[in-house]
Amino acid sequence: MPSWFSNVFSKSRSAPAAQRISRAQLAAVMTEEDNPEPEALDAPPQRRVVDAPVIAPDAPSSGPADEIRIKAQPLHANACVFLVDRPVFAGRSIVCTGPQNAADAPLAQRLFALDERVIEVVIHNLTVKVRTHPRVQTDWDTFAPRIGAAIREHLKTGGPVASPEFEAAIPSEEALRAEIEDILESVVNPGIAGHAGRIRLDGVEGNTVYLEMLGGCQGCAASQITLKQGVERLLRDAMPQLGAVLDVTDHAAGNNPYYRELPA
């Protein structure tokens, strides 16, 4: 056995009794001079991150020029965005999380009726986002044309996207803003303060809500679960005519995310 190894583990490594000092003695000799307070450092200035709009490449479209043109952009195996060349639901949005919630949304009803794999439809301005069941791999090459055809047919016939009752019941932007800020400050933020997180209302356009996640929420692996299953559900319960709830956070710039990986 090498000598350094035996030294590390041998009892002789302890200091002789005469040289030992008690904790009280140690505390007495530890003056402020020995342990000066660390100098306070100025916090780095907070900078905003601006997201400029990404301009989609202007791919040539096929079909007659007077036809309603729709492009499909699969996001992953269970979500696809359909970009229409004209407003589908101008300035507003509607979220239907299943056929049972689509009574006020005739276009969403049509898409749910198309295939039972469709579990969520979000209509916002020029776009229709369709989510399919996560347990089924969707082949968008074959399924997207069916959805595109259904959207085109609905728009051609002039069918409404939302019922007149739904549209009439949408609160003003000011009323939505006040209600959302009240819920954020009184319910949401106290709840996530334990994770050093905070959620701020970035803006309201029509009935579409833009939220920013800060502190421990920014970059947190569980942030989308918090947003979708916690905050959005809470807001939608209070305001049934609420449209899409969109996250504008730059999560890549988060300094101190609470979860770096999803908790087991």
Binding site: P45, Q46, R47, R48, V49, V50, D51, A52, P53, V54, I55, A56, P57, A59, S61, S62, G63, R69, I70, K71, A72, Q73, P74, L75, F82, L83, D141, A144, P145, I147, G148, A149, D250, A252, A253
Partner: protein, 114 residues
């Protein structure tokens, strides 16, 4: 995103420019562009090449040190390690002295007519 070997950036400045050439910030670390031509004066075009050679969790174009900078558009061509290069086009925005522009964009998802 895989390791980003390099990127080319073209910035078209609008009504309000900046006098000093911009730099970029990768994962919070500021770096100068390796080469650049043109300027960021009003109406000018600035072209630059950056060699981060790293995995960008965050990639920013630094805003002006003072005042505001109107950007009409930005074109970025990324050269990821071991993959085909791709280009992303950004629209107009304004950067103030407390703001940076996010230029960390993944390869655009394929789009097709339906």
């Amino acid at each position: 995103m895989p390791r980003l070997d390099a990127f080319d950036i073209t910035i078209r400045t609008g009504a309000r420019g900046r006098s000093r050439p911009p730099h970029f910030v990768i994962n919070g670390y500021p770096l100068e562009f390796d080469t650049h031509t043109g300027s960021t004066e009003p109406g000018d075009v600035f072209e630059a090449h950056g060699d981060p050679g790293s995995f960008p969790h965050s990639l920013l174009l630094a805003g002006p040190e003072e005042g505001s900078w109107d950007i009409e558009g930005v074109t970025i061509t990324y050269y990821p390690d071991g993959e085909e290069s791709y280009t992303v086009e950004l629209g107009a925005c304004t950067l103030d002295d407390d703001a940076d522009l996010n230029i960390n964009h993944p390869r655009p998802a394929p789009v097709f007519d339906v």
